[in-house]
Structures are given as C-alpha cells and as structure tokens.
C-alpha cells in the first residue's frame, strides 16, 4: 500500500513568512510523529499525535511552531514568522499504534524547508 507522503517536497520562503507542511500517514495508522533534521544531524522529535490529539508536543522548539490533526489522519505542521534557523528537513512518520511500544515508525520522504 501507499506509504507516508509529505507535501511539498521542497519549500523556499522568506524570513518572517508563514509556512504549512502537510503529512498524509499510512491509512489506518493512529499514531503520527513529526521530526526535524538539520544538516549532518539525526532527526529530532517535535510532536506526537495519537488520533486527533497532540499527546506530546515537548519537542516543539517554541510557540512559532504548531501542528494539527483535526480528523485523525492528515496532519499539518505550521510555522509562523519563519527564521533562517528553521531551515531543515521536516520528517513525518506514522505507526499502527503505540500500545505495544514496539510499533515501527514509517517515515515519509520529508519536506526540505529553506528560509532565506
């Protein structure tokens, strides 16, 4: 079946602008995660959704970052007043559920955000 998809694949914006990044998880996956990966680093956790609710947003760097998942499927990561330091690849992942704690997270191809 289809994997996790993310749009756009690349986004170039100017400092101070607002951006939205979209994630379509694998159908039937209730858990959804956002990670951010800077150049030369591993992915860093941002936020986790179980269904519609954000169960853990402790990784969001500040209040300019916000994410929603209104119907428990597609999620949007929103960044206000973008800064050059926000430039990174934003990765989305989904998993079937977390009940066992061992569910594999399946990653999308990422959105490469460049803030000029």
């Amino acid at each position: 079946g289809a994997g996790v998809s993310q749009t756009p694949s690349n986004k170039v914006t100017e400092k101070g602008k607002y951006v939205e990044l979209r994630c379509d998880p694998i159908s039937g996956h209730t858990a959804l995660y956002w990670y951010r990966q800077s150049l030369g680093q591993g992915p860093e956790f941002l936020i986790y959704f179980q269904g519609t609710g954000a169960a853990d947003d402790s990784g969001l760097p500040n209040d300019r970052f916000f994410a929603v998942r209104p119907e428990g499927s597609v999620s949007t990561l929103k960044i206000q007043r973008t800064e050059r330091g926000d430039s990174a690849v934003y990765l989305c992942a989904s998993s079937l559920n977390i009940a066992s704690g061992r569910e594999t997270q399946y990653f999308g191809p990422g959105t490469r955000l460049l803030v000029l």
Partner: protein, 113 residues
C-alpha cells in the same frame, strides 16, 4: 539532545566487504532500532532489537545489543553499492514515552563498486 552516537561518522569500503557500525547510548532503553537514509530524505526502518535480546538477523544485516555497555552494532555483510546511505540508530527510553525515538548523528557508509 541526542541519545545515541554512531561510530564511525563515515565509512568507505569496497563492494563485497562487510561494514560494521556502532552505536552508543546513555540511558536505559526499551528498544533500539536501526534506520537507513538515502540522500538526506526519508528513513527506512531496518531492524528493531528489544532490550532483552542480544542479537538479531535480517537478511544481510546482523544487529547486536549489549545493554551493560549501552551499545549496539550493525553489521552489513557482502555489501553492495546500493547500501551506500546514512545509517542511524534510534532508541526509546525505558520509563519514558516509548513512542519518542531519539536518533544519533548517523554513520555515512559509502560502498565503492
């Protein structure tokens, strides 16, 4: 902060040789996973090893886990040019939220034809 640290940072080998990458972590874990990433984009899950397991195999991959040393190794046997990628270990922390993966900085593997 990053829990895991891969070693070496970069590894270059010839096709057909074996590649070994290591990962060390700091706190007790539930599970440790290895992922592959091509061209800085999406990660592909390779293998998961639980904290009570010591070794696991999947095709040409062999993963070991030593919880006393807080370390893991990934061995790729009979490497191919297509194995060229970055490899990351990821842990979820015992007693913490076991959905939150913490990644290392990765090992860049280059397999020369």
């Amino acid at each position: 902060s990053q829990q895991g640290e891969e070693d070496p940072q970069a590894l270059s080998i010839q096709e057909g040789e074996n590649a070994t990458m290591n990962c060390s972590y700091k706190t007790s874990i539930n599970n440790l996973q290895w992922y592959r990433q091509n061209s800085g984009r999406g990660l592909v899950h390779l293998i998961l090893i639980r904290s009570n397991e010591r070794e696991k195999h999947s095709g040409r991959l062999r993963v070991t886990l030593d919880t006393s040393k807080k370390s893991s190794s990934l061995l790729i046997t009979a490497s191919r040019a297509a194995d060229t990628a970055s490899y990351f270990c990821a842990t979820d922390i015992r007693g913490g939220s076991n959905y939150k993966l913490t990644f290392g900085k990765g090992t860049l593997l280059t397999v020369n034809p």
